[in-house]
Symmetry: C3
Subunit: 308 residues, 3 copies
């Protein structure tokens, strides 16, 4: 299989058939992590760099495990304890890593657009592991894979995304891809966290949670960045939790088989009650498991290993 792309920077410019084919390839990697020997030789001798300018456990670990299960060499670089601390430019860092014959650079960066900038300067593949408030495409793709795994198909499903829509790269990447796939997307949050122009993306905005979750097939709850409170965007955690926290009582308003998602890490008791996170229709751990498979698929597609 030849993949037409050098980089994975966002879902905004992906069409439906590309997304579908990524999810199809992911399918074949899900099984690898269930084997007794969770390892395939696909990317032996390839070099993958995790270049993280923001703290992360789950995304970095997920990429590291994905790379290692494909037999690649994986190198972690985080800002603390690196020459990044010496003020080197992003471009120089990237060109240096490319000169060491890296095959894939996974980059997480607080500045929106950093991975795109970097991709323009290096010959190797770049995967956006989350940039500022812009995109987090691997999260959206694993979310879609998880929904498809449960529901069979995606078109026509109705999703409610709840929380800090304005600052969420997870929300943006999901909105782009879901709209492309013909899903019906609602977003819901306090007015201070709902961008005015959000409906131009083809979604409907709500400030009332009970209304927003009525009749949706999936509720995707976003992590509340606790620093939002300090910036005065929400009055208090307590009020946020009362108005936008998903608990069992509120779920009674929703479809009986509604699926619950969260990109993690969860602020238990703030945006989601523990009983919901661990409840019957929670897909949260499926998202994590599928994250490894999705990242294996992308690394495989970009680093051009031999046939499966």
């Amino acid at each position: 299989m030849t993949f037409p792309r050098k980089d994975i920077l966002g879902t905004q410019d992906m069409d439906a058939s590309e997304i579908s084919s990524i999810l199809d390839v992911t399918e074949s990697f899900v099984e690898v992590s269930t084997r007794e020997v969770k390892k395939v030789p696909t990317l032996r001798g390839k070099t993958i760099i995790n270049l993280f300018y923001e703290p992360s456990t789950r995304t970095r670990t997920s990429f590291e495990i994905a790379g290692k299960r494909l037999s690649a060499d994986v190198i972690n670089i985080s800002t603390s304890g690196s020459s990044v601390a010496k003020g080197e430019s992003l471009k120089d860092t990237a060109m240096t890593l490319a000169a060491m014959a890296a095959d894939v650079i996974v980059v997480r960066h607080p500045s929106s657009g950093a991975p795109h900038f970097l991709a323009g300067h290096v010959p190797c593949a770049v995967i956006n592991g989350g940039d500022g408030t812009h995109e987090h495409p691997t999260q959206a793709l694993l979310d879609l894979f998880t929904i498809r795994q449960r529901k069979g198909s995606l078109t026509g499903l109705r999703v409610g995304i709840i929380g800090d829509i304005a600052h969420s790269r997870v929300a943006r990447s999901n909105i782009f891809a879901m709209r492309t796939l013909g899903m019906d997307v609602r977003v819901c949050g306090p007015a201070s966290l709902l961008p005015l122009e959000i409906e131009s993306l083809g979604v409907r905005a709500y400030t009332d949670l009970d209304t927003a979750i009525r009749d949706v097939d999936i509720i995707m709850v976003l992590r509340l960045q606790l620093e939002r409170q300090e910036k005065g965007l929400i009055p208090s955690l307590r009020e946020y939790s009362q108005l936008y926290g998903l608990n069992l009582k509120r779920l009674e308003q929703a479809k009986p088989d509604v699926l619950i998602m969260h990109p993690g890490p969860i602020n238990r008791g703030v945006e989601m009650a523990p009983e919901v996170a661990e409840g019957r229709y929670s897909l949260i751990l499926d998202q994590v498991a599928n994250g490894v498979a999705l990242r294996m698929a992308l690394l495989y597609l970009l680093a051009g290993g031999p046939g499966l």
Copy 2:
């Protein structure tokens, strides 16, 4: 060989035959690290996570080397630069790692009981890499292996453990296992660092070092946590060193073939003089070398690799 346990959380609930069989398996791994090619394929395709909530070089490195020599994929997570910093609950972190199909999670945590809590929530194996002031079972097992290697057997040997008994997870894990194996255990330290009820564990308590080390076969010196002084538990490092520091002069009171142990890292000149640490009967570097073998044995037993 089938091992009856999912986790290694402490030595307190291990019986003598279990300890012996762990030490027997360790025997077969000692040789691997002396080969030209220090690697066996035993755990190929297994995923081991080092989840460290406290700084550590030797324990983390020892587990990492052990895992890699068994051909496992090893992932390090430390609190700095991870979403642990974002305040995720220990339970969520563990469930996330388990969902990524980890086989073994090695956890070090400042809270006593954290590994037990975690083991109750994840299907994969958990190894306690040191929890609060509670247990550090892999240290105790490698200590016992090292003594057995030198002395042939353990039953009936007399050991003196010197230092901050009250706060030492190394001391606790050793006391449990040594008593189970029929060893005679003395503990010795300033009264402020000797718990009142310590003799209920079957040991005898001393505040005078010269008396405590008379006639013992092994002296195990604990690291003095330097922050104890700030908390007022010892009057000064200098006085501590004069009263409880092991030096050559003091060793003249002991058996001529007494063995000297220390879990490291040593505060040279505080609890132990350099001449003792590097002296003739010091087992300190044997402890380090055997630590790798013991951890290979435990990883092998828990991750269920094929026969050796």
Copy 3:
């Protein structure tokens, strides 16, 4: 091939034939990183420790990639988050790592002489990854390899090293090796950054950049440690840049085919203009690429793998 050395601590005591033979071995490793499968089994089952007491991306990453492409197990230890933070002595740390059967310890340390001290205490190989203001031999060797690759031979070439000569371990290691190989070396910088006795090393000192770069074959620009300004050794970055920054205008004074080098990371616009760094005769990315090959060669020579 048997290599006569246990450690690589500096270039000062290397003779010309030893340097040449290291560069010859490097030659054979350059190709590995251009393969589809960038990996050889040479050091399978060997353990390499990166022990870094100073922050570093490029040197640590270069060694890590080099080790992994040779199939060795590579363990990273950096001062943050390790028992180094607990104040363990360098000697004890090193002996501990050696007891775990490490084959090579790569050490970077702020104290000049630390790797030499360490090498005297451990049976395994030690590579100096940069010590204080003393030596950085792998950087010098990769620089020489890069020049030789472009120019065919080294003897008789004229080099100008520009910048903070007084504090640069890169400059010192290069000066030693270049003089040994019969190269003509000029150093140039502000008087406050030029040690008085530098000419005793067989180089000629300049304070005027235009004079220094006239007729040289290679200009090697050093990174300006920005903290020098705080210490009052340079009046301002701006003035430094005006007097010693290499830009296109200034390059007109130099030979038309002069080669430009920099060990990185670059302070763009301070010691070097971006147009020079990315210009036609810049070898900066060659240096990075060759750094991996040179370190593979040294790891191979020291860890005694089987024939290539």
